[in-house]
Amino acid sequence: MQTFGQQLINGLSLGSIYALLALGYTMVYGIIKLINFAHGDIYMLGAFWGYYVINQLHFNFIWAMLSAMVFCALLGVIIEYFAYRPLRHSPRITALITAIGVSFLLENGMTYLFTANTRSFPQVIKTVTYHLGGLRISNIQLLILGTACLLMLLLELIIKRTKMGRAMRAVSVDPEAAQLVGININHTISFTFALGSAMAGAAGVLIGLYYNSIDPLMGMTPGIKAFVAAVIGGIGSVPGASVGGFLIGLLETGVQAIGLSAYKDAVVYFVLIVILLVLPAGIFGKKTKEKV
């Protein structure tokens, strides 16, 4: 029971990182049907930004995270403007290859500038471990969980309660009809990229603090896992992405805990395939009926 509780805590902290990343995937996919392969690399850039501002400018944690969010949001908008916008009416597979190209560019650009070495992330917050009835919870785990939940709530509010959020939902349902009622599609899509990238930036700083190490290729695997999380939750659905993220995090730590850590990725993919076969649109996805 005790190990179970402990793994639950570890899984939830890891899961909240995946959830934050999955939100970006799901929003972008929902609105322009693009698997944004570069999303994992924006998360990496967020971590590097945090590393830089904490080391060079001596920011505290809050400012480091907020500035990383702003930086990543800008970056997301710039990438969308230059790489994806010209391809909005091209075959989707073309846009996908462009996204992969952007991902390569960010990874290799960072490797070129900062070398491929792993760096240790400055620990701005001293790790304190609390013992609660035999369970060990570090303040960083609590911070990750708290920040992630706060950001997700904020996102949900933005999407459900603001004018821009309503525009986002409208564009994802039908871009042309949205345009007809006076929604600026370009602004809405830029805004979506900004929101998703900001989440990734926050996740980058949080993971730096949690794992204490960053490198230019750190975004690859979590990026793909987060996309899997978004698909499991039902791509295009915001609550689905959060649930999917937590599910993947828990699954991974659970498999590790029973001593099958070599197979943890295989289990994640297996669950993905099974869920897709049972619920082809994911857990929260909308089922679309096919009309003949």
Partner: protein, 319 residues
């Protein structure tokens, strides 16, 4: 097959000329080991990408798991030729690799091909990763360290001949009744079904065919490079093959050839740039996609048949 006999013979002639040309260059010393290496890589990439183009371009199914089937072929060769280190052993291992890859494709394909578009891509990617992780943890495959000292049973000539063979078989398959069935499923699944075509069956046929060519590519890769590790067959390997297909033009076998040659040459030229290499490569990729969204050749196909029809049309106009 009979109707296309003339065109097949013409292509065969082109391939023989190509072989003689490369052989002559080799003899004259124009092709050194470095360039030969590049040519072999291009050849293997063509085999892999042709199979993937059949799946993506002609049957319209978006697969991201090609490297998994390639891994099966590579490991079949790697394991078998270590005990039977003869050319016969190599071909035997290739056949076994193809059979295992086809069985794996059936197991993966029957459930997942019900999914559409990106969901299928993610499911096939997951399946390929599962194959890789299994290889990574098995004893017989030597785990994460991989296999080395695989006997060098493959020369550029083997790769060339197999490349021609797979291309001819694939193109004839596409132009056959079965190929038309596959393309009709791509165009409109419901309409195809109304015409009495079983969509699942033909999607599966294309998928299994593609897996078989991937296994051939993997076998050649293992025997030529002589070292394989599970890391060589990760998602990035699948994506590298996908890039060739999309860059050349989805649904154009000629495009696949052009893209494989362009990327192979680009890669060799960029070797001189050291660390800047991948940056230039990715920039080139983004720019080509932005300015040529349907790939270098779109779905244009170099074909003697069309050239012949053109000439005849022109003649009739002149008459």
């Amino acid at each position: 097959m009979k109707a296309n006999f003339k065109y097949n013979i013409s292509w065969l002639a082109v391939m023989v000329i190509g072989f003689v040309a490369i052989d002559a260059c080799e003899f004259l010393g124009i092709i050194n080991t470095f360039i030969e290496n590049m040519l072999v890589t291009i050849g293997i990439n063509i085999i892999l990408a042709t199979g993937l183009n059949l799946i993506i371009g002609f049957s319209g199914q978006f697969s991201l798991g090609h490297a998994g089937f390639m891994a099966i072929g590579a490991y079949a060769t790697g394991i078998m030729t270590q005990t039977i280190a003869t050319p016969l052993g190599f071909y035997l291992s290739m056949v076994i690799g193809i059979v295992i890859a086809m069985i794996a494709a059936l197991i993966v394909g029957i459930p997942t091909l019900r999914l559409r578009g990106d969901y299928l891509a993610i499911a096939t990617m997951g399946a390929a990763e599962i194959i890789r992780i299994l290889i990574n943890n098995l004893k017989i495959t030597n785990g994460a360290a991989g296999l080395f000292n695989i006997p060098p049973l493959v020369t550029w000539a083997t790769v060339y001949v197999l490349m021609c063979l797979t291309t001819i078989v694939t193109v004839n398959f596409i132009h056959s009744r079965n190929g038309r069935a596959i393309m009709s499923v791509r165009e409109d699944e419901i309409a195809a079904e109304a015409m009495g075509i079983n969509p699942t069956r033909w999607k599966l046929a294309a998928f299994v065919f593609g897996a078989a060519t991937a296994a051939i590519g993997g076998s050649l890769h293992a025997a030529y490079i002589q070292t394989i590790a599970p890391g060589d067959f990760n998602i990035m390997a699948s994506i590298a093959i996908l890039i060739i297909v999309v860059l050349g033009g989805v649904g154009s076998i000629t495009g696949t050839f052009v893209a494989a040659i362009v990327l192979g040459a680009l890669d060799t030229i960029l070797q001189n740039f050291g660390t800047l290499r991948m940056i230039i490569y990715s920039l080139a990729l983004i720019l080509i996609m932005i300015f040529k969204p349907s790939g270098l050749l779109g779905n244009w196909e170099l074909s003697f048949k069309h050239l012949g029809i053109h000439q005849r049309k022109e003649q009739s106009i002149h008459e």
